[in-house]
């Protein structure tokens, strides 16, 4: 089959209110996000012939996408629910792009939401997440989610001399960007010392090395590059996409310091015909600070082992060589669970449209978005551009 390069575009993108949103249920967040994205695209629900959702942790249904279709009274010819953790978003978009390019459907609405903060208590949410490990061979040892990532951080520090202050620089950059985003859940700027002095959760990760627990939803509308020209706003084109999958359980990981982000990134760059030097802004999955450092290396923004030094001195902040997570990311914008990386997509779309006001990356033409799910298990990279040539 021909490459998907430039064949599909995002023509609508929107977020609901995020952070603490007790007034809306999980299902209502999905539907509100959908309505806002349809309005952004300038179409109605009757124009949608493909619907994709992620699973809701708080309000699960046996067939979740069917439920949202029923609730909205949409009758699609393509209807799919996907759950690959934080990687869900980009993997879903890969499916949608393939369906559009092969003529299975024309206009796909992707909506994702959850209310992990208000729908579940914080303790309950963390406890629920503890089912991430293998029931017989991991959970008996009591690893909380931050603990899995702490072992990745420890391995990276041991192998490459990465420091806690370097991990903290990631959290500081994300918070700085969130401080310029009125929609973000946490907007008070923080310093490296603030991160290092925050409570130790799972050594070497402090509280501020960890992402948030949030409510919120986001949605996008995708269609063919050809049809995209007739929509309300200027389309954002998918130039490259690639996935990498390495394990389900961390104890089965091939490597603790190199992830399948490497394969995902290489596949996305190859499709786009672009490389790390061509990227103006990167929205990287940041559930915990060490993940960003490993991704920067695996995605080719710096050599393996250099990630810690790369994030120093404001290089990943607005005005730096590679601004990342310009909305604040999972660490400071919001993290409702499965939907996490869809906010990276809606932000990348806004950056490429030039809608970001004070946090706009000047002349942004190519954006890189990366998501991972599980414990560095499933990876998907996407390269988006203002132009499709």
């Amino acid at each position: 089959m021909d490459s998907l390069r430039g064949k599909v575009a995002i023509v609508g993108a929107a977020d609901t209110e995020v952070g603490v949103v007790p007034q809306l249920s999980a299902t209502q967040l999905y539907v509100k996000g959908a309505k806002l994205a349809l309005e952004d695209a300038g179409i109605t629900k009757d124009d949608v012939d493909g619907l994709i959702t992620c699973t809701s942790f708080v309000e699960p249904y046996m067939y979740h996408a069917e439920m949202i279709a029923e609730y909205m009274q949409i009758f699609p010819r393509y209807c799919l629910n996907v759950a690959t953790g934080g990687g869900t978003t980009l993997a879903i978009m890969h499916h949608a792009a393939s369906a559009i390019a092969t003529g299975v459907c024309n206009t796909v609405l992707i909506t994702m939401a959850d209310n992990m903060l208000s729908g579940l208590s914080r303790d309950k949410a963390i406890e629920a997440m503890s089912t991430a490990g293998h029931a017989q061979f991991e959970r008996p040892y009591g690893p909380p989610i931050p603990g899995f990532y702490a072992m990745l951080a420890q391995a990276h520090m041991h192998a490459y001399g990465t420091t806690s202050a370097q991990l903290a620089a990631v959290a500081v950059a994300c918070r700085k960007h969130a401080s310029m985003n009125p929609a973000a859940q946490m907007r008070q700027p923080i310093s490296i010392d603030d991160v290092l002095n925050s409570r130790m959760i799972a050594h070497p990760l402090h509280l501020l090395d960890c992402s948030l627990v949030s409510d919120g939803g986001a949605a996008i509308v995708m269609t063919s590059a050809e049809r995209a020209k007739s929509f309300k706003k200027k389309p954002v084109y998918m130039l490259g996409v690639g996935e990498g999958h390495s394990h389900e359980h961390l104890s089965q990981a091939r490597s603790l310091t190199t992830s399948a982000a490497k394969e995902a990134g290489e596949r996305a760059y190859a499709m786009a015909g672009l490389g790390p030097k061509d990227i103006d802004v990167a929205e990287l999955y940041d559930c915990f600070t060490p993940v960003v450092i490993i991704e920067l290396e695996d995605l080719g923004f710096c050599p393996k082992g250099e990630g810690g030094r790369f994030v120093e001195g404001g290089r990943i902040e607005l005005g730096g060589d590679l601004p990342i997570n310009t909305h604040g990311g999972l660490m400071s914008h919001c993290h409702p669970g499965h939907p996490g990386s869809l906010f990276s997509i809606t932000e990348a779309v806004r950056q490429l449209r030039g809608e970001c006001g004070p946090r706009q990356v000047k002349d942004a033409e190519v954006a890189f978005v990366h998501a991972q799910g599980g414990i560095m298990s499933t990876h998907c990279s996407m390269i988006l551009g203002k132009e499709n040539n």
Binding site: E127, G147, H158, S251
Partner: protein
């Protein structure tokens, strides 16, 4: 999901029963492929290297090396609150496979990557003993 306050006691399956039978006798077992000699953990129907079905249970030396670790200060559930701070680690067995475990029998701060460790068993119930590792 385990209720708060109750540790997640493993429930053996047809595939994992021989492993837990070994643990009950304080013997750490993994599978070894009779066709290619590959050791694997967790247990599977076929060898992950050559897909042979001649995977046999063998007793390991119980020796391992710490691949990575973390010291947990915020317990995953209330059941582990009494253990804080505790060490969750990934270890590489002398035979090759890696597994998750707890490092016990030393101060958490004394654990390091590359540390040689030896299996020890924590008897949780009459039938389930959980393999953990302690410094050699």
């Amino acid at each position: 999901m385990a209720a708060p306050g109750v540790k997640p006691v493993p429930v053996p399956t047809k595939e994992t029963q021989p492993y837990w039978d070994g643990c009950k006798q304080h013997e750490l077992r993994v599978q070894k492929c009779a066709a290619c000699g590959h050791h694997q953990f967790y247990p599977r129907l076929y060898c992950t290297t050559c897909m042979s079905d001649r995977v046999e249970w063998v007793k390991t030396s119980g020796r391992a090396t710490v691949l990575s670790y973390t010291i947990i200060y915020r317990p995953v559930t209330q059941a582990f609150a009494g253990n804080v701070p505790y060490v969750v680690a990934l270890v590489t067995l002398a035979e090759g496979p890696q597994m998750m475990t707890n490092i016990v029998g030393c101060e958490p701060e004394k654990v390091y990557i590359g540390m040689p460790v030896q299996v020890t068993f924590d008897d949780w119930t009459e039938d389930i003993s959980v393999p953990k590792f302690k410094p050699v």
